[in-house]
């Protein structure tokens, strides 16, 4: 069967499955790439009205607390520090501007595509203190850990990291514990699962009785994930399914997990919208304290002040869709983005702006009628 026929078959089965069902199915994906690819490919438009694929806290830039951005910006303003960052972080504004703004003011902010590149800069410029903005989920954390180990083995004293890594499971648990958020099942993140393995979601299934499906990133795979999840819910089943075995194994990548464990310990982390959650992030082990910019530069996080009018917090927790934000598409666009969900190429607002703007009327109407 070719992909087109398969898509038609999945769509038909999904429609038959939920036909006449009064209660909508609320499915959440927790992966920025699922958000973007689902929007881009138009998968949402193939879904029946009573199946909703909601975007959760899957975009690493969007879940980074504003106070962390403030700390980075302040570090950049010192003048003696070079900030190394992945590209998406540079435009996210804190209370005192963004990395892009401080770069315009003369700060040394450099975009890197990997921690290897960051190490290279530190080696080349031994007189600069280089701080890597270590954000992202379990997919990027091992790369940060590897860089710390490498810097330690070389005695590279001018390299450090400002850690803000996040763990996916605690965020899923927090959402499930929130009575305001309604989730019937999860489409689990693809590449995070490559690292942590599909079995990591077992507690969501056994303790919270919510089905979980791990799936790939293409439209067909997303649709297949939605179908399998819906099938379980309609049949009253609660299982963990891995539909992406070519990339995700049951127990993940042991080398990557060992790297994380060698350098980090789980610690309290501040998330945008979700607040501080114990054991939801990664702290640098004392042994590597010399490479922890928080300790090296005695940095303390301040308070969060969300941009006025921005409802990113609601968007990343599935409580609102972007078109419900008054600033969406008018004041806030990818060119002049107010919140991180519009800044980031994996952010839900940017994905909606690019691919789902035309749907705004239907969604707004539904929101008013209280369907959402």
């Amino acid at each position: 069967m070719n992909p087109r026929e398969l898509m038609r078959m999945y769509t038909r089965e999904l429609n038959d499955l939920v036909a006449g069902r009064a209660a909508p199915l609320n499915l959440m994906e927790v992966c920025g790439t699922h958000t973007v690819n689902a929007c881009r490919s138009g998968v949402h438009s193939l879904m029946p009205e009573n199946v909703r694929l909601i975007s959760g806290p899957g975009c690493p830039v969007c879940v980074t607390a504003q106070r962390y951005i403030d700390a980075l910006v302040a570090l950049g303003r010192r003048g003696d520090v070079t900030i190394l960052t992945y590209g998406d972080m540079i435009r996210v504004a804190g209370a005192g501007g963004s990395l892009e703004i401080v770069r315009g003011e003369g700060a040394d902010v450099r975009v890197v595509t990997s921690t290897l590149e960051g190490l290279e800069i530190a080696r080349r410029e031994p007189n600069r203190q280089c701080v890597f903005a270590a954000v992202g989920f379990e997919t990027t954390a091992p790369a940060t850990a590897a860089a710390v180990l490498q810097a330690a083995s070389e005695g590279l004293r001018n390299f450090s990291i400002l850690p803000a890594h996040k763990l996916v499971l605690p965020a899923m648990r927090t959402l499930l514990n929130d009575p305001e958020v309604k989730i019937d099942g999860f489409v689990c993140p693809g590449h995070v699962s490559v690292i942590i393995g599909s079995e990591a979601y077992r507690p969501i299934v056994s303790e919270y009785h919510k089905p979980c499906v791990v799936t790939g990133f293409e439209a067909l795979q997303i649709m297949q994930g939605v179908l399998h999840l819906s099938r379980q819910i309609v049949r009253g089943e609660t299982r963990l399914e891995n539909l992406y075995p070519e990339a995700v194994s049951a127990h993940g990548n042991a080398h990557a997990v060992a790297l994380i464990d060698r350098v980090f310990v789980p610690g309290t982390s501040a998330w945008r919208a979700l607040g501080e959650m114990p054991e939801s992030g990664l702290d640098v082990r004392d042994e590597f304290a010399a490479f922890d910019a928080f300790r090296k530069f005695d940095i303390r996080l301040g308070e969060d002040h969300e941009p006025r009018g921005c409802i990113c917090g609601k968007v990343i927790t599935g409580r609102a869709v972007p078109v419900e934000c008054r600033l969406f598409g008018t004041v806030c666009t990818p060119v002049y983005a107010v919140g991180p969900c519009m800044v980031s190429s994996e952010g839900t607002c940017q994905a909606w702006f690019k691919y789902r703007r035309h749907e705004s009327h239907r969604v707004e109407r539904e929101a008013k009628e209280g369907v959402r």
Binding site: T113, T139, H191, F217
Partner: protein, 82 residues
Amino acid sequence: MCLALPARIETKDELLAWVVVGEARMRISLIMTPEAGVGDWVLVHAGFAIRQVAEHDALETWKIIEEVESRAGGSHEREVGA
């Protein structure tokens, strides 16, 4: 940030390798896939191979990426994974 693409290993020197990703050559770390060797396919994320993948699956992924790109009018936006 969460970009991950399949790439073939061209040369390997301990845990560093040169890979071919589409039309580009890139230097990456094999610290998470130390068993991968020259000619093998790996999934590359932010300069690190995060998993070895079968050639068949890798080529299949590239076929889909190329299809999506040609439909998007040659746009090189590639968002493949968190």
